[in-house]
Amino acid sequence: MSAAAASGHLVAGHEVMPEENYLSVDHSLKSWLLTVDHKRICILYLLTITFMFFIGGAFATMVRLELLTPAGDLMQSDTYNKAFTMHAVFMIFFFLVPSIPATLGNFLLPLAIGAKDVAFPRLNLLSWYIFVIGASFAVIAMITGGVDTGWTLYTPFSTNYSNTNVMMTAVGILIAGFSSILTGLNFIVTIHRMRCPGMSWFRLPLFVWATYATSLIQVLGTPVLAITLVLVALERGFHIGIFDPALGGDPVLFQHMFWFYSHPAVYIMILPGMGVISEVITCFSHKRIFGYKAVAFSSVAIAVFGFLVWAHHMFVAGISLYAGLVFSFISFLVAIPSAIKTFNWSATLYKGSVRWDTPMLYVFGFLGLFTIGGLTGLFLAALGLDIHLTDTYFVVAHFHYVMVGGMVLAYLCGIHYWWPKITGKMYPELPAKAAAIIVFLGFNLTFFPQFILGYLGMPRRYHAYPAEWQVMNVLSSAGASILAIGFLLPMVYLVWSLKFGKVAGPNPWQATGLEWETSSPPPEHNFHETPVVTTEPYHYGEKEREI
């Protein structure tokens, strides 16, 4: 093994695909649709959310095309309202929220803790079906005319005035929410009860810690969104009066309840990405992670603080000044655990033997973009500055730096890093590197001008704007087309690699972690023998030191 380790991943060429693996056990469609294997459920999710991503992407294309010119010429304002709403609904609820937990989380969690499966495999499959039903509602709502309320579904517009498909969209989100809750529940129980012998809490890979923190938010936050959507639906369908000011209700209460979920939800979207980064950065620095416990606990701290800051979305909604002060202060506090992570990742690189494989390119992209996204979040957490920036493109840019620059890059990073494990094949390195660089450049060209536009006062959610902002908007739209190429490329070469890629072998990256000790792709029950853990995680470089 040490000889193989010395020659790096080139050794992959000599490997043979294991004849018995989770993909080869049965090829029938039925075996896929009725599977309870967490690895196959990962694939089901992967296909579903990729489809959702391209629907969301199509609407993003419409938005950027409209904004090429100052006049509202490509579509009417009503159509534009639908375009940005559908973009956000599909991207947030049907791509970002399930993205890493439902795909990589599903695949890796049992492997990483040495289990044969998640605690409740049938519930896991049920979660996927529930997700598909929810997504179908959203797609039908889209086909039959769409929805124009913004993804925030603010009342009383959503309950009383909008004449678009609010009800069906809300029901779709509600159903997808149940899927999210059940996945979180499944993962929490799995992490508590399914760890293999020797896998103590502080030997868990950091990806598992991040998934745990994410699951906590899914279980604690999503039900509040669920009841809020139920009330919106009751109000829209049966005209009860809980949020309607005409009946004595309070629309600000809706905002409180909505953001009680939707702020923590951004941590559902970013925490698993942070978990991926922790794994990849140690592997490609070939060095133990700096400050394991600090990184682990900062995930939990983000989950906890995340529940205490929601009203920073409501500084201009008429909440009291004192409430604003408290929420502003706590919002600043969230920066601490995020910074702890960033510093620890940087320290891990220090004196490591850093390799520049594709996943690592995404890590560097993530570090830069997430830092910008996080720091601009502090601008928005500041009470005074937020009044100037609320509902401008500055918010849009901030959010996309965290969600696309952070989460989507981490997702692509993880997909590339674990692709050999999931499929048994290596992706081609050159196009993958090119795609990573294209994504990075395209992303910055798309969203950096939006910071400037927002600072200058360009409001979000309008299809027309004054002519002096056209240059920045053209830059942004041009960047978006580059970004689109960057997202389409992996679709091509990853599919290509399924047939033509080099056989990966069990551990092409010389990574630590139990998932790398079994064959690629893993056998149906993950391990031929239940593994026993005897070492700390990330014992990189120790073998060499022994020799």
Binding site: M194, L220, I227, L247, F260
Partner: protein
């Protein structure tokens, strides 16, 4: 016996009940949203909530409370029977729990129907105006059925404030903070205010919450009864015994949870404006 992905049977049992507890935490957050809304509006429309609450039938609410606590008892006995492999007792007490659950829902139907008849259901037809003109199509106040408990108290302590007190409270309310929010016609709506718009401010919020909260609770009961049909089917097949009773035990947790939710709903919705021995 245990499923393949668990190492031992104990691990499987442990995971299942842990999963159930996590599920109940999720349920607490779900109902928590409703309780927060209640708290906010009870504070905002203090009087209107009291007045509206007085229209509920405490006798039926109390009866239902007893029924539900009784069903928790029968459920606990059913779990115990499963743990001791007493098949017949398990089946009998599952049936008893189902019967009590159905009774609860039946009483709820009576209560809801009455609310529809009295136009106290939120929506275009809503009308609640204890201090003003009576609502069209609703018989006059003294003809409204005062509940049994109210009648008993009236007999024992002399005439006590029931619905008539509600009216006084309502009159008081208009002199309070809520007066500023009196239901004026919506700006831009021409002509006379509708009965709905002339209703007591905040009362429709109360009844919205009443229906949302008891409705969500009833939905959980219906799901529970459905699950019991499933458990009963397997119980008759003899699936549950001292070796394997996790589903019964977990369902018991769910049923007790639904019961506890009602224990909070009952005082918050029915009892906030009941006094013995006159005004305070």
């Amino acid at each position: 016996m245990h499923k393949h992905h668990f190492d031992t049977f104990d691990q499987q049992k442990d995971a299942s009940s842990f999963g159930m507890w996590v599920f109940l935490v999720q349920e607490i957050m779900f109902f928590g949203g409703l309780f927060v809304a209640y708290l906010v509006y009870r504070h905002q429309y203090y009087m209107a909530f009291g007045t509206s609450s007085a229209t509920l039938r405490v006798d039926l609410g109390l009866f239902n409370t007893i029924v539900l606590i009784g069903s928790s008892l029968t459920m606990a006995i059913a779990v115990n029977a499963a743990q001791r492999s007493l098949q017949k007792r398990l089946i009998a007490f599952l049936l008893a729990t189902m019967a009590l659950g159905a009774t609860f829902l039946g009483v709820k139907v009576i209560e809801y129907t009455e609310k529809f008849e009295k136009r106290e259901v939120p929506g275009a037809n809503f009308c609640f105006n204890p201090q003003g003109a009576p609502c069209k199509g609703v018989s006059h106040e003294e003809e409204k059925t005062p509940d049994l408990i109210q009648r008993y108290l009236n007999g024992r302590f002399g005439k006590l404030p029931g619905l008539d007190k509600a009216a006084e409270h309502g009159a008081e309310a208009t002199t309070h903070a809520e007066a500023g929010e009196a239901a004026a016609p919506e700006p831009g709506v021409p002509g006379e205010a509708t009965e709905r718009q002339r209703s007591m401010p905040g009362s429709e919020v109360y009844f919205s919450l009443y229906f949302a909260m008891t409705g969500m609770h009833a939905l959980h009961m219906i799901v529970g009864i459905g699950l019991m049909v499933w458990l009963l089917y397997w119980a008759t097949k003899g699936l549950y015994s001292a070796e394997y009773y996790t589903p019964i035990e977990n369902f018991g947790l769910y049923w007790h949870f639904v019961d506890i939710v009602w224990i909070f709903l009952f005082p918050l919705l029915y009892l906030i404006n009941r006094h013995i021995g006159g005004h305070h």
